[in-house]
Amino acid sequence: MQSSRETQVFLSAIALALILQLVYLPPPLGPLKPWFLGMVVCYYVLEQPRFIGLGRAFLIGLTADALNGALFGEQAFRLCIMTYLLLRFRNRLRFFPLWQQTSLIAVLFLNDCILALWIRLLGKISEPGFAFWLTPLTAAFLWPFLFVMLDRTRRWRRRAPRL
């Protein structure tokens, strides 16, 4: 029962991230929009790795590509690498204070930006604008909120039957 609730939260978080990815934002905010899907996947790799492995990350990435990818396989590739890195350093990252975690998330997303650029070069797609390089910062900025929010949602879900 609890596990199914958790699954629901997980699926809805992923779905929400996918939708957010598609949401149009007005020009000053649009290019700064972080990669929500990557953030949610990050959270789950850190907190609930049983939900997410490389295979699932790959599938989620493919779904995201089908939705809004520049190239089919691009986000799958990026998610895989991100998941792998996080799984590697998960044990350390989990015990970092939130601000350190946040700065590492920024670095991780910067790495992801470079990967995305590489994929784009591979696919001969035009380079993204300057704002693209600021998305790690917005991701880092939003990370604590997302972290706390998802934590709360999961716990609330878990506690709800008891209350």
């Binding site: 949401v23 149009y24 790959f58 089908a66 939705l67 590739f77 895989c80």
Partner: protein, 297 residues
């Protein structure tokens, strides 16, 4: 030890998996880019996720419509302002055109009158430059003066009838005293019967007055009043106006007649100026027109 080995093993596994997945992903990217094989797959996927797209469009659409509402509102206000200004300008133009048209019509009438009446020949046109329509004096300034051959007492008419006479002269301007000026008098007569009298101004551009007429004077409502030509200055037969009111002055046995001027005094734009005529015939009783005009002032 075994734990450690397992850990490394797991790591190795995941690295292998990563490599495989990455290879697949890169292959997908390259295939997608170069061969475009996956376009259909992607389209199918897109068709499948279309509801999500639409759902994700909702806040965007809301934001856009809100944005549209606000920009539209400000745009509308700006447009409204612009259109209003344009409307006013065009209205003004229209009025100008209309008044030009009217003055053209009037000019045409005047020209016809001048051409058909030999007594009106030899005059000249002048534009009205300035007006002074206080209750005590009705003057207007025209753009012709001595340089164009005007003389004191030149007669000004418009397409309807008598307007006034030149009172003072400049080189290129002249001041006219209007027939509606309270100090102005014209020797006049009834067109039909020939009854003679003076028509005076009373400081009202729409009304002239004939004071102290005998009760049995041959004058009735609707009679045409014109200049008599007596006493000089005004040639005979220039229309002054129509009788619009006959008042019996109580206790005096006299008639007071109000005349509506034939000339369009309220909206003069140009006048036709005639040289003053020398006196013909006997001088009318009372003061002479020359003295009637406020030359003493």
């Amino acid at each position: 030890m075994s734990e450690r080995a397992e850990f490394f093993n797991k790591n190795a596994d995941s690295t292998l998996a990563l490599l495989i997945y990455c290879a697949i992903a890169v292959a997908l990217v390259v295939v997608d880019r170069r061969l475009n094989y996956l376009a259909q797959t992607r389209q199918a996927a897109i068709a499948w996720v279309l509801p999500i797209w639409q759902l994700s469009e909702v806040p965007a659409r809301l934001a856009r419509s809100a944005e549209g509402y606000f920009t539209d509102r400000s745009n509308l206000l700006a447009t409204n302002e612009r259109l209003r200004t344009e409307y006013l300008l065009q209205q003004q133009e229209l009025f100008q055109l209309r008044s030009q048209g009217q003055s053209l019509v009037r000019m045409a009438r005047l020209v016809t009158a001048i051409e058909t009446q030999p007594t009106l020949a030899g005059g000249q046109f002048a534009r009205v430059m300035a007006l002074d329509f206080s209750t005590n004096q009705h003057r207007l300034v025209i753009n012709q003066g001595v340089s164009s051959g005007l003389a004191i007492n030149s007669i000004a008419i418009d397409e309807g009838g008598l307007v006034g006479q030149v009172e003072s002269l400049g080189t290129d301007a002249a001041s006219l005293i209007l027939i509606s000026d309270p100090q102005h008098r014209i020797p006049a007569q009834v067109y039909a019967g020939g009854e003679r009298f003076y028509v005076s101004g009373m400081g009202n551009m729409r009304t002239l007055v004939i004071e102290k007429l005998a009760l049995n004077a041959a004058i009735k409502l609707g009679d045409m009043i014109q200049t008599s030509g007596l006493g000089g200055v005004f040639p005979e037969g220039i229309p002054i106006g129509l009788v619009v009111k006959l008042d019996k002055m109580t206790g005096e046995g006299l008639l007071r007649v109000e005349v509506s001027p034939a000339a369009n005094l309220t909206s003069l734009r140009e006048v036709y100026l005639l040289p003053p005529t020398p006196a013909v015939g006997p001088i009318a009783p009372g003061r002479k027109p020359l003295e009637n005009k406020p030359s003493a002032k």
